[in-house]
Point group: C2
Chain length 529, copies 2
């Protein structure tokens, strides 16, 4: 069987690599027919050279060009919606409806279009003008970006179509997409569409490229290469840390999203007031997509007492009764099983799931609920925060508010933290102590809501303190904020006015771009001095 | 003689360390009388614990409190101006007038006051409101920050008074200042004033602390400590890289400013049109403060020809005739001498200075001009970019525009890049090729101007690609942009409105705060839904 081609320097062509791999259908455990290459270093370097050339070609292009490419690409994806969803379903086990077709693909198209609109608008550059000193600055492109997509969002985080891709392009950067090995065919199809869109809109050859896999050594060489501008990585912690170290050592901006267990606090008042809502919210959030969200509620902190016991019992019943979802891959299954073993080994008991037999014809693990006392948690907080990526969660039953606060102090950085409290404020005193402490540990703080919904909003923060991400000042979701990750700050001091980028010239280039002129945000022109 | 005290947890007290050091007057090579301690780990950890307590105390304080502290501190510094300048002159050899008293101290006070104003204004937080999704975000404090100040700005970059300090405080973070060992008395005096201001304005005990020195191992332990929020470091590259690696490994935001040689291009048209202006600009910029600026023009690229030879000859004459300034320390002298040796070893010739005998009673090196052909530069670009921190510069005489472009391609990241061109546009074609390529290598691009002036402007970028700094998206100078370095992005999803920070509540807290509401910048209130 022919090995699939890589997209390098504007051409689909045979890889020169000898090693290959195949994806597996997790719902059948059968290998899928396509064979994909592992690219040797020479090929990676060619991609880098081509991306560098592309970056030089486009660095002074008007934003309109990037917007047009993104819009053409969004249109192509829309047209191939059925084929994409079929392919992604085969490779990931995620259901076509509603997940892939109704939720993720439209979100992906929306992200690309929002990024195009942000590029065209230009306000994301934060053009800043100091007329007194004649110094002007704005954000500009960083150079070629490589994006490593994760396993759990075959579209919305795909290395060649997801939020990092769209952000990097909106900032004016060429992208080298690195497919996730569990869904190479979906990624290939997206890259075909991206390539078509790039040709239609006359982007240079190396603007959009795709490789499937490299050796680990070549991965670190890639992220630390002098021609590279920056890196987006979403995925497993161990791999991400290796890439981060290589990139950090040479000062390449790298944005990693590594792990998050998303603590949820059920305060006494909420448990008393509306136990059923808590139960329903939690079960639906935790089992959605078989728990394979970065924002899955993997840790729930509840106060000791009969109300809590009733909630746990009801959740366990629902977990046991609910269908067991298919996991993304054998790797996800074995990691999840190992995490459950680790958490049990650190002192947690099984409430339900874990060892229950399940369908062995597909990759899955029973819906699992674990519990531990606050005291036991505090004895081994690191192990008990092992990310169990999938349909499993750990409940920590605490004796007191003090114990809950102590638990927060041991938490690693997370993407999100949620607090459910009494709607009429009965437990506000507790909220007021817990929330400020939790605030510093998470990127997004929620009230009375599970964290799994990640709206593509300008105010979203899909980011957080390490190890949720590598830097707590950036978000991977939300336009235009996500674009800043792939931009550098460029100041112009005494530069002659016709030489400035249009965003910094006196005349507002669109009549609508927001600019910070002498401390005031305005859509107007800069007044002549 | 008594060992000077450290400031830990609101108390000046004897260090428990046994090792000590003394500063040296570089103008006499004599040790100064005060003896300073090296703090053992236990003391550093106490400071961290106290800073953590302070961070918990102030995390919900109104910005007004940080502004008041900063203003009180600025006032204290102003009152002690004479004593501070006398002390700094003894420790650094920098002249009291105009440098310390007329330039650096007023700038330092101005930076602190601007940071106070930015804190009070609150627009730096980029409050962002999405009314449709009820998601709101803003930047908030990061946690305790440690600031390592450099040797060359005893006030404006001081760990307890400089831009990093003021930015970190404006964001609401406690600061642990780490004195530079070459000016501990200046730093102690500043810390005394900071402590007084903190008491006056009722800041918690651990909000401002000072240590002088730690072992290298404890330095890396400090920057990677779980209780730490972030780090500012300006100084030598080798030390900075060690700290950066330790901080990066645990995902602590660290902002390092490491080295920069600030390439300056003299285009043919400028050389023909106004040679004297170029000569005067360069000599005054390069010898200012004995060349000890991060933005010192250490590399000048000029086209081959008689005009260039005349410029080089005139500069050499001025360098030879100019007084030889005192360097900051014996370390600076030996580094500068070693750098000159390295650059010569890599193929550069001496035009003037280098081996000329100079006053051996103080730390100094003759004003040195080196030159190399473009061809020779391209054979050994790494060595020839050795930062010669001090009164020395390397001229690269290129054969062609292509050679100039090739030189740019070999450049490491720099803080600045300058291009002098013909005022009537005679060499615009060259400018148009060089500038976009240079743009990607530097944080600030200048026209017809030397890089040594760093205005405290909202549009300033005192930053740049590695190794100029560790991340090209941030600036160390310029309010409010510099504050973002010490902040985390905090999103609030469905949070009840009375629980939001005031910046995110419907009512504009000051009536003047700029906020991004549903995509529009406004100083108004959020309209009720």
């Amino acid at each position: 069987m022919a090995v699939q081609q890589v997209l390098i320097n504007g051409q689909w062509r045979a890889s020169s690599g000898k090693e290959t791999f195949q994806a597996v259908n997790p719902a059948t455990k059968q290998a899928l027919p396509d064979v994909y290459p592992l690219s040797p270093w020479s090929e990676v370097e060619e991609a880098l050279q081509a991306a560098d050339q592309a970056a030089r070609t486009v660095r002074q292009w008007p934003a309109e060009r990037f917007a047009r490419f993104l819009e053409a690409y969004a249109g192509q994806i829309e047209k191939k919606s059925d084929e994409l969803c079929r392919m992604a379903n085969l490779e990931t086990g995620l259901p076509v409806e509603p997940r892939l077709k109704v939720a993720e693909l439209p979100r992906t198209i929306n992200q690309i279009r929002l990024s195009a609109a942000a590029a065209r608008d230009g306000s994301w550059k934060i053009p800043t003008v100091d007329t007194k000193n004649n110094i002007r600055s704005c954000f500009g492109p960083l150079g070629p970006v490589v994006v490593f997509g994760p396993n759990n969002f075959p579209f919305a985080y795909n290395g060649i179509a997801g939020g990092d891709f769209a952000s990097a392009v909106a900032a004016g950067n060429p992208v080298i997409g690195k497919a996730h090995s569990s869904h190479p065919a979906t990624t290939r199809l997206l890259a075909e569409l991206a390539h078509q869109a790039a040709q239609e809109t006359e982007m240079p050859a190396g603007f959009v490229q795709l490789i499937y896999r490299t050796s680990h050594a070549d991965g670190t060489k890639l992220v630390s290469h002098p021609l590279l501008g920056g890196i987006g990585y979403t995925g497993a912690r161990a791999t991400g840390l290796v890439l981060k170290e290589a990139a950090d050592r040479v000062g390449k901006p790298i944005y990693v999203e590594l792990s998050s267990i998303n603590p949820v606090f059920f305060l006494q008042g909420a448990i008393e007031e509306r136990p059923q809502a808590l139960i329903d919210d939690f079960v639906s959030s935790c089992l959605m997509a078989t728990g394979q969200f970065c924002t899955n509620p993997g840790l729930v902190i509840l106060p000791e007492g009969p109300g809590t016991e009733a909630v746990i019992k009801a959740i366990a019943e629902k977990f046991t009764a609910a269908p067991v979802g298919t996991l993304l891959s054998g790797g996800v299954e074995s990691h999840l099983r190992a995490a459950i073993v680790a958490i049990r080994g650190a002192g947690a008991e099984v409430v339900c799931g874990a060892d229950t037999p399940v369908d062995s014809g597909r990759h899955c693990v029973p819906n699992t609920l674990l519990r531990v006392s606050g005291e036991a948690f505090l004895k081994n907080p690191a192990k008990l925060q092992t990310e169990a990526f999938g349909n499993s969660s750990l409940f920590v039953v605490v004796k007191s508010k003090e114990q809950a606060l102590a638990v927060i102090d041991t938490l690693e950085g997370n993407l999100t933290g949620s607090i459910y409290s009494h709607t009429q404020g009965k437990d506000d005193a507790q909220y007021d102590e817990l929330a400020p402490q939790l605030r510093q540990k998470v990127g997004r703080l929620l009230n009375d809501k599970m964290p799994t919904g990640v709206a593509v909003s300008a105010a979203m923060n899909h980011g957080g303190p390490f190890p949720a991400t590598g830097h707590p000042g950036f978000t991977a979701v939300g336009v235009p904020a996500a674009i800043h990750r792939f931009a550098m700050l460029q100041s112009y001091d005494n530069v002659r006015s016709h030489r400035l980028p249009t965003s910094l010239q006196d005349k507002n280039p669109t009549g609508k771009q927001w600019r910070l002129v002498d401390g005031e945000w305005t859509q107007g022109d800069v007044a002549s001095k």
